[in-house]
Symmetry: C2
Subunit: 149 residues, 2 copies
Amino acid sequence: MFPLPAPMRAALDAAQAAADQGEVPVGAVVTHGSRIIATGGNRPRGGFDPTAHAEIVAIRAAAEYLGTDRLIDCDLWVTLEPCAMCAGAIAHARIRRLYYGAADPKGGAIEHGPRLFEQPTCHHRPEIFPGIGEGEAAALLRGFFAARR
Amino acid sequence: MFPLPAPMRAALDAAQAAADQGEVPVGAVVTHGSRIIATGGNRPRGGFDPTAHAEIVAIRAAAEYLGTDRLIDCDLWVTLEPCAMCAGAIAHARIRRLYYGAADPKGGAIEHGPRLFEQPTCHHRPEIFPGIGEGEAAALLRGFFAARR
């Protein structure tokens, strides 16, 4: 075991906070250099916003913070493989590196489904680092859905 | 020539308003029954928000208006073929019908690129009606980019 990088630790905490609000537990963080500049928890239901996945919440907050729509030199850390919507947002935001935890065979769009960053028309592809903190991220999701069955 | 449906007329007006603000001219409208409940213009630059495509702006406004994250029985009208981010948002929002104007071979994700609604993992597919108002929508985009060259 090695300790998780601090941004993924923060993303997992945001996922737990989402679960505490009754939302599917996914969390995300944007870093600029080594600094966390934005954190987002999944909140489509409570926020009345179908686009409010953790990644979108964090990307919007980071862009507002930096006063730009291009997150150059920024990295995104998220507990679950991003969906097509979020992968598209990552490309639009020009995220430099994408770190994610658990794979998502049903909804993921990075290594599953449309594999968006492998599409010839994709205009920006981040460096991709999967599997960081995946055990804890997946356990959060399993616990959440088990409690609802 | 037949007159454009009122929602596409409103989406084209929103696209023109975006151009007037220096944004790539794309506009969108959400209807509930025959009523327009939300309008969105593309505004990533001015809004410091890489996710602020016209469709996302309109979907978020419609969901907030209705107080839900599921736009059941709602239709989206947009002047340009949606990208992957927006197509993903359309699926998450459970949009019933998608009407769009101009095709977008470079950035579109409906009839081009990843063709998201044809992916086996896609969990919601709206009815799709392309080409409505495409001449005017494409002319707006051509004019915008020609003025910037």
